[in-house]
């Protein structure tokens, strides 16, 4: 089952990647559709951020993780380089847990 998941996900992803290079001479993606797909991707990513930051299974993930994500987000908004964002998020979450806040 896991092998099937990886295989189908890989095949589908590669098909998405290959569409542009193969078809660009034959069809132009309408501007509006292009904008819509990139906005849709942003919507999905934000939802994924929210679910991954706030929930664990069917319940609340606790405060430490969303706090770390928030600190990482602040670093990112201040245009900090990505490695710093990563470290800030992990360290914040780890420290809060050490302090007893889960």
């Amino acid at each position: 089952m896991r092998a099937l998941i990886v295989a189908v996900l890989a095949a589908g992803t590669y098909a998405f990647r290959l569409t542009g290079p193969l078809l660009r001479h034959r069809l132009n993606m309408p501007d509006r559709l292009q904008r819509l797909t990139s906005s849709a991707a942003a919507v999905l990513l934000v939802a994924l951020v929210a679910v991954a930051a706030l929930t664990q299974g069917h319940g609340f993930a606790g405060w430490a993780r969303p706090a770390g994500v928030l600190v990482g987000g602040i670093f990112a908004a201040r245009k900090a380089p990505l490695p710093l964002v990563v470290v800030a998020a992990a360290v914040t979450t780890a420290l809060l847990r050490v302090a007893g806040l889960h």
Partner: protein, 243 residues
């Protein structure tokens, strides 16, 4: 074959040291994410071959985390695949955007397509001309592919020894990185509102729906994006009638 494409000296001459340094920085950041992915997958109970094969064959961080997350949470295979694939639909417009960088023999197109990522496309589009776009795309794409897969393997190895990856805050890394990547897109007001609405829906239904589905339901937020232009069209139609 790869060496012919990525002749480091010619890339250096073409894209310049600044861009190469930025590409290296992004590779470092992605390496940390990749180590996290490998470690979390294995520590969560997936066999090593799952994160390793996914990284080689899927090679898309967000989709890998999403699919592995659904697997670890015990969601269905369909939900795992759908969560990953929906995230990867953004690769379709990416492919169109950089299609001109891999004109040439058929195998360069096949190989090039596999390294279409947020990062390689972003670096390519930042370049002023086609030669530099090509060099930046290949340098970032190929560099990331190597770094990403090595780092996932390292993470898998580390994950066996770090029993509790949450203790060192690794669970905060993935959402934080996604947030950093998506922030620029949220400068657009309409997208921001659609994203917030979608996220609220996703979080609200998480307690009751199987893993993987809530994120897909967030696409309902996209409906908010479809409305304004049609309202605009109505207004224009009204004006035309009035005029």
């Amino acid at each position: 074959m790869l060496f012919k494409i990525i002749d480091v000296r010619s890339v250096w001459r073409t894209v310049g040291g600044d861009t190469l340094r930025d590409i290296a920085l992004v590779c470092v950041a992605d390496a940390i994410i990749a180590v996290t992915f490998g470690a979390i997958s294995v520590a969560g109970g997936l066999p090593s071959w799952v994160p390793v094969s996914m990284s080689l064959l899927v090679f898309a961080g967000g989709a890998q985390f999403a699919a592995a997350g659904v697997m670890l949470a015990g969601g269905s295979a369909a939900a795992a695949v759908a969560a990953g694939l929906v995230l990867n639909t953004r690769l379709v417009p990416y492919g169109f955007a950089v299609a001109d960088v891999f004109d040439g023999p058929w195998w360069t197109r096949l190989a090039g397509a596999h390294v279409v990522t947020d990062e390689s496309v972003a670096f390519a589009l930042r370049q002023p001309d086609r030669a530099r776009r090509r060099a930046a795309f290949w340098a970032c794409g190929a560099g990331l592919f190597v770094v990403w897969n090595l780092a996932v393997a390292a993470g898998v190895f580390a994950g066996r020894y770090v029993g509790n990856t949450n203790a060192i805050g690794l669970d905060a890394v993935f959402p934080a990185v996604l947030l950093a990547l998506v922030l620029p897109a949220l400068a657009d007001r309409a997208t921001l509102w659609a994203a917030l609405a979608g996220a609220a829906v996703a979080v609200a239904v998480t307690p009751v729906l199987p893993p993987g589905l809530p994120v897909l339901l967030a696409l309902a937020g996209v409906a908010l994006l479809v409305r304004p232009p049609s309202a605009e069209r109505r207004r224009r139609a009204n004006q035309a009638e009035a005029g």
